[in-house]
């Protein structure tokens, strides 16, 4: 069977360095997009699809739910890392509303490169910016393949140790 999608360039642990920035993405949060996000992620709180409710609650408009904010990070990370990398852990804190009608800028930087429990890891320090200020910060811990095992997607057990 023919493969329908092109396979993106792979990022290898050997090739990255602390301080490297990963490509950023800007997201346009139209109302239609907010509605599709609510349907796609099953979060039907009116805060996320109803302007009146969002504003009455203190936001500038309807606003993205926590999990949807995290989706923006997943887009940025998965666009960059290739098909053989895996996210091991994510930590985040939301510090501003991601309102409908706004453009959110999401980017990241390799804050740490290390090996632990048999895995080759990088800590991506991620940040989402709203038009007003930093909207979300945190870290994505990503396990990368190495050039000695080009197609070896990292795996680990319930204790986080490579297997």
């Amino acid at each position: 069977m023919a493969i329908k999608y092109s396979i993106p360039q792979q990022v290898y642990w050997d090739d990255v360095n602390e301080g490297d920035e990963i490509p950023s993405v800007d997201f346009n949060l139209t109302i239609q997009r907010m509605v599709i996000a609510a349907g796609g992620n099953r979060n039907f709180s009116p805060l996320h699809h109803n302007t009146r409710i969002g504003k009455a609650a203190g936001a500038g408009d309807m606003f993205l739910q926590n999990g949807s904010c995290l989706m923006l990070w997943e887009r940025v990370v998965s666009d960059w890392c290739g098909i053989y990398a895996r996210v091991k852990k994510v930590t985040f804190r939301i510090t501003d509303f991601h309102n409908a009608g706004e453009k959110i800028h999401v980017g990241g930087k390799i804050a740490r490169k290390y090996q632990e429990d048999g895995l080759n890891l990088v800590d991506l320090k991620m940040q989402s910016d709203t038009p007003r200020k930093v909207g979300m910060t945190g870290t994505v811990v990503l396990a990368l393949p190495t050039r000695s095992n080009l197609t070896g997607t990292p795996r680990w057990n319930a204790k986080g140790v490579a297997c």
Binding site: M1, I3, K4, Y5, S6, I7, P8, F27, R33, I36, A37, G39, G40, N41, R42, N43, F44, S45, P46, L47, N50, R52, I53, G54, A56, A57, G58, A59, N66, G67, L70, M71, L72, W73, E74, R75, S78, D79, C81, G82, I83, Y84, R86, V87, K88, K89, V90, T91, F92, R93, I94, T95, G138, T151, T153, R155, W156, N157, A158, G160
Partner: protein, 207 residues
């Protein structure tokens, strides 16, 4: 850890709880206890190609492991991969109505009112704590284990009190509290562990 918003909007606040017979020391003493009632929440859907498409298309996830079985298998997965941001809430969703239940949208419900939705974490009771009126989300940590793929069905277990840090902040007096839950696939394999934090407090009185 500190509250980052001086004026926390009503949208993010949850209702009152607690009892005058308790202090934050009682809450701290309860760290490690499970407040899920032993219940297991089973998602009402088995992850399929169309639900993955609906999830990925909104923010235009282009990595082909989310879209194509062959590419996902080439990368070592069983099938199309569920994005990691979807595991905690999206594919653990239990649905909002079933035949035989009353309508979620009675005729006297106002246009902006909210119909009842499924909970996403099994909950029974709360830890002992002094009276507090308000709670809002602060942070989350999710660890991932066995990959989640097309064909999987997620269950959620546990609501363990993970941490308690009493603190007075710019918005009021209370404590940072976090709960941890675990997510499993239909084979009983651990797929994720999520710890969600919130600030539970009494707002400062305005002068």
């Amino acid at each position: 850890m500190s509250a980052s918003n001086k004026n926390v909007p009503a949208s993010r606040k949850r209702g009152p709880k607690g009892d005058t017979g308790y202090t934050w020391d009682d809450t701290i003493a309860a760290i490690g206890k499970d407040y899920s009632g032993g219940k297991v929440l089973v998602a009402d859907e088995t992850i399929d190609e169309s639900s993955l498409a609906r999830y990925c298309e909104v923010f235009e996830f282009g990595n082909p492991i989310f879209w194509d079985d062959e590419i996902a298998q080439r990368a070592g997965y069983r099938a199309q991969v569920a994005p990691w941001a979807s595991i905690k809430d999206t594919f653990s969703y239990g649905g909002s109505w079933r035949p035989g239940e009353p309508t979620r949208y009675p005729l006297d419900m106002e246009i902006d009112a909210r119909g009842a939705n499924a909970v996403r974490v099994p909950t029974e009771g709360e830890p002992p704590m002094p009276p507090v009126t308000t709670t809002f989300f602060t942070d989350m940590t999710i660890e991932f284990f066995e990959p989640v793929c097309k064909g999987d069905n997620i269950s959620v277990m546990g609501r363990r009190l993970a941490s308690v840090s009493p603190k007075t902040t710019s918005v009021g007096e209370g404590a940072f509290i976090s709960f941890a839950s675990e997510y499993f696939n239909q084979r009983g394999e651990l797929v994720a562990r999520a710890t969600q934090g919130s600030y539970t407090y009494n707002p400062k009185k305005k002068d």
